[in-house]
């Protein structure tokens, strides 16, 4: 977990744990409106597959407008 004072982050990460993911979350964008999921490749594949939208709904409920997966450095 990334250390943060934003209460949405632990809530979003709890939603991810409930769905079986270990990924971390950070808030992005000029208004911190995007939840960016920092996931390793196997979890990125799952998130971009059929189960991704339901997971995104759960993460968005933590208080974000958009939910995304980060494309990290190689």
């Amino acid at each position: 977990m990334i250390e943060t004072a934003d209460p949405r982050i632990p809530a979003a990460e709890r939603a991810l744990r409930s769905a079986g993911f270990v990924a971390a979350v950070r808030a992005d964008g000029p208004e911190r409106e995007i939840a960016s999921i920092l996931a390793a490749r196997p979890e990125r594949e799952r998130l971009l597959g059929p189960e991704g939208e339901a997971v995104a709904d759960a993460v968005r409920a933590a208080g974000f407008r958009y939910v995304s997966v980060d494309l990290p450095e190689g």
Partner: protein, 289 residues
Amino acid sequence: MPSLIPSAERRARLRAVLRECDSVVVGYSGGVDSVFLAKLCLDELGSDRVLAVTGRSASIASWSKQSAREVAGRFNIPWLEVDTEELSDPRYAANPSNRCYFCKTELWDRLRAVARERGLRTVLDGSNADDVGDHRPGAVAAREHGVRSPLLETGITKREIRGWSREMGLPTWDQPASPCLASRLPYGVAVTPRRLREVEAAEEALREMGFREVRVRHHDPVARIELPAAERSLLLDREASVREAVRAAGFSRVVVDLHGYRRGALNEGLASPELVQLGGVPSGVAGSN
């Protein structure tokens, strides 16, 4: 299941509306609707009574301009480009939720001037029956400028336009929607030439990789990519290339939206008083920002 093409009666009604317009300037972006309308006007009114006009500015993507030019040339549609200066209007550049009103005001001002100069009686746009219910502040500007919407007036749907376009041999029949580049900036994020260039460069690179219905939303300095589900496997195959191409366009971070591509995504957070819809335009909304 809705029909792929309009009935003979509805086609005849549309042709009658075009004849009633007598001679026309068509607002012509090079997209599905305006190409279809311009070609139908040409067939119905003849080349000396039709002029398709494309607004040229930094908010219009290069691929839209190219499509407009190519299709006009191929089908002998009389065509003109005019510069529009919406980016110089601070009300537009501030990017309020009725941004399109200021852009379309500029466009229809220019097109009406062209129509006057050329002695063409009516200015037309390609709004259609499926645009009813969308957030359309630009429709207020069209109404204020006396612009007619024959496809909307005769209830022609997008699906019918695509079907009829295919029958007419128009290459745009299956072209994805391509709204202006400013639509990639969340409301309130200023529309600047730099941001528009970054979006255009990123989307151009992704299109070259084979993505078809892609949007790069600009959350300075983050790029949020929206893709339909069918294009996500390509993303996973080309992950590193996608990231590098989008970063090279000027973004420092690249993320992919998990809800995917959806039309009008940036309107999702608007409160109902901010929404301006065809068929239900509240008075006084247009100039309120």
